[in-house]
Amino acid sequence: MEEQVLVERARAGDRLAMSQLYQAHSRRVYAVVRRLAGDDDLAADLSQDAWVRAFERLHLYRGEAAFGTWMHRLATNVALNRPRRRTKRPDVEASAVGMRTYEKPSDEAVMSRRVLSDALDKLPDGYRRVLVMHDVEGWTHEEIGKSLGIASGTSKSQLHKARARMRQLIAPSAAATEAGNGVQ
């Protein structure tokens, strides 16, 4: 059945149509929410909120973009507008963000989805948001700035700091080695 038909029926309250829309897009929606949230429990709540809000506001969807695109953007906004964590995690309060590590991590370490996901979770909220939006979701700095209420230049500088921190988190053992040995 065409997605637009499903949307029309869901708009009228048809649970079967809602379920089909959910099945078609839930994995993509959860992925963006989970990565922005940095936490399983929070992501579960936010993902639910996003879907409930979507079905409640389906009358606002005008079909200009694909439903999946609309839903993805709505879920991103739900995740971005949540209250920030009250406490900072001590393990990510790096005092020397951007300092070099000179030991090559293995390709597996760099490419592993698990390693990347764990490192993303350890980033401070601000870094993680910008990095996920830019490097994972493909937003421009202008879009990020508009969405987060910051200047696009701020988005850029946050991104570079986030990447540097991310790179350190992927190879923590290398950072420790660097502190003892140095290079050159």
Binding site: D14, Y30, W51, L159
Partner: protein, 234 residues
């Protein structure tokens, strides 16, 4: 930005070079000459490629149940905004048509074509019925009485469509358009009654949505045409 301790580029600078190399010619020059920084540049690029390739993730297994429990009470029928075109004698025609169409739809739903038939249609990937389609499930599954009523209603709508005002220029024969609206309203009411008895039947649901869409499109067109022409048929 050079890390003064080791005279290598910082990770932030390497990220900046990746993003906008033309803005950092000195750093780019350093990268070309320094194996350590070149390696780091390559690693960060690989990290970014891996990030951009992160795929979808499975939500919690019970997520849909949790979402569904938070949705408003089930509502299968679109609330239809009131039409103000049928004051006076047309309302009487509408009432008569509702009774007529109610019989048709009740027959369609309960005299051989229940939820099982509709579900079979959906599972087989066949298109669901619309206003002008033959009766779902084939004539042999319906009683002759229901079939006659159904085809009479469809034929009536088709005749109206063929008349000026039935489609196209709505003001050419506004009464024909109004009559068509009345017939559609009757069918909508009848299908609502059918849904009350069989709320999950996808065929009846689909028919209802088709009818509502057709009725609303026609109504909007007529209202705007009347408004533009400065006429009042109420």
């Amino acid at each position: 930005m050079i890390d003064q301790r080791y005279e290598h580029l910082t990770l932030e600078m390497i990220s900046e070079v990746l993003e906008e190399p033309e803005l950092h010619p000195e750093a780019a020059e350093h990268l070309a000459a320094c194996d350590v920084c070149s390696l780091e540049h390559s690693l960060m690029r690989r990290m970014l490629m891996a990030l951009s390739g992160l795929g979808e993730m499975d939500p919690p297994a019970d997520e849909w149940e949790r979402v569904e429990s938070r949705l408003p009470t089930k509502r299968l029928v679109i609330p239809i905004r009131p039409l103000h075109l049928f004051r006076g004698w047309p309302a009487q025609v509408a009432a008569a048509m509702i009774l007529f169409a109610g019989g048709i739809l009740a027959g369609l739903t309960f005299m051989g074509g229940g939820p099982d038939d509709a579900a079979t249609l959906v599972l087989n990937g066949e298109s669901l019925p619309s206003v002008g389609d033959p009766v779902p499930g084939g004539p042999e599954t319906r009683s002759p009485f229901a079939l006659a009523q159904y085809y009479e209603a469809v034929a009536g709508l088709e005749q109206l469509r063929a008349r000026p005002g039935g489609s196209g220029d709505l003001l050419e024969d506004p009464m024909a358009t109004t009559e068509r609206l009345v017939r559609l309203d009757g069918l909508i009411e009848a299908s609502r009654e059918a849904l009350a008895n069989s709320p999950t039947d996808p065929a009846v649901n689909n028919l209802l949505f088709d009818l509502i869409k057709e009725r609303d499109d026609l109504s909007l067109g007529l209202e705007s045409a009347v408004h533009l022409a400065g006429l009042d048929y109420r």
